[in-house]
């Protein structure tokens, strides 16, 4: 099962990054994504397909000092 932001996610594998982001309610313009330790460039969101073995981090900006 794909692991996304520390959680096992059942419905992610087989989808592109962009499909997953849209379905899960993320704003693709406001995030950065790391898959198995490597950054996925924004231009590849439509092409990269999530697999069962992937560990994915979806990050965005929050307030900080």
């Amino acid at each position: 099962m794909a692991k996304i932001n520390g959680e096992e996610v059942t419905n992610a594998a087989g989808k592109t990054i962009m499909e997953y982001l849209t379905e899960a309610g993320y704003d693709s313009r406001r995030v950065a994504i790391e898959r198995n330790g490597s950054i996925i460039p924004k231009k590849s969101y439509e092409e990269v397909i999530i697999t069962e073995a992937d560990t994915i981090e979806i990050v965005s900006f929050v307030g900080g000092g």
């Binding site: 993320y26 950065a32 981090e57 979806i58 965005s60 900006f61 929050v62 307030g63 000092g65």
Partner: protein, 256 residues
């Protein structure tokens, strides 16, 4: 008069107040930035929430430079990872390197900070490292490509003021990059003092976030930082070692 600009990594700023965005409602950011007159605001990077709350980027006025920090990094490698992710969001090349492995006092790890700065500067980042004010470390940071140094005045979030004053003074004297005092500044008077000393800028977050009126305090810091800068540029008057010096003429008294 020649325009007084702060230059960091080739970018010019008129404001010398870097505002933090932590620990207060994002809806106040726009007003706080405007009252602060800030042209640069710090942000942190965290796992994203899906849906619900608005993104902080929607609350930051246009034209304000974003300074993502690497908070959460415990070593150079983690700082580099966070910086790269932050840049990927697409908001510029600035990064405030912050490497902390002491969770009680939140003091920066200077040696890991140097390592991260070197890697990120080589990758084209404009690196502004948060550091403990040590002259040797500041020199190393210059040599590995930092664009500014950000020494702490006191532990993060403490509002204790210029605890490291003498050491910051040494950095200001010896380091050619902008010395931006970060962390611990609790009051406008302390921001003013450090600007009078010749600091290039002040970064403040908790002093604003924990104030009674956040937006008004942002304005108070703006005034204090501007006053301190003007005083520095003017050249402070001398201090007598003893005695006094009359300000009014010593002739023409009525009793003569």
């Amino acid at each position: 008069m020649k325009q007084d600009k702060l230059v960091i990594g080739g970018h010019e700023f008129e404001s010398r107040f870097i505002l933090g965005s932590g620990k207060y409602n994002v809806e106040l950011i726009d007003a706080a930035v405007k009252h602060a007159g800030a042209q640069m605001i710090t942000l942190a990077l965290r796992r994203a929430n899906s849906e619900g709350e608005g993104n902080i980027l929607d609350y930051i006025p246009e034209g304000v430079t974003l300074l993502p920090n690497t908070s959460g990094a415990r070593n150079a490698e983690e700082a580099v990872r966070i910086a790269r992710l932050a840049r990927e969001i697409g908001c510029g090349d600035f990064v405030k390197v912050e490497v902390i492995r002491d969770s009680k006092y939140l003091l920066p790890d200077n040696s890991e900070t140097i390592k991260a700065t070197e890697i990120l500067a080589k990758e084209g980042f404009i690196v502004m490292p948060y550091m403990y004010p040590d002259l040797n470390v500041a020199r190393d940071l210059v040599n590995v490509g930092a664009s500014a140094v950000m020494p702490l005045a006191a532990p993060i979030g403490s509002n204790k003021g210029l605890v490291t004053k003498e050491f910051i003074k040494i950095l200001i004297e010896e380091i050619d990059l902008p010395v931006i005092v970060d962390a611990g500044i609790g009051r406008p008077s302390q921001a003013c003092e450090v600007m009078e000393m010749g600091a290039a800028a002040v970064m403040a977050n908790t002093a604003i976030a924990t104030a009674g009126d956040i937006v008004a305090m942002a304005g108070a810091f703006k005034s204090a930082i501007e006053a301190g800068r003007s005083a520095y540029l003017s050249g402070l008057g001398r201090v007598l070692s003893s005695g006094s010096a009359a300000s009014s003429p010593l002739t023409g008294f009525l009793q003569e």
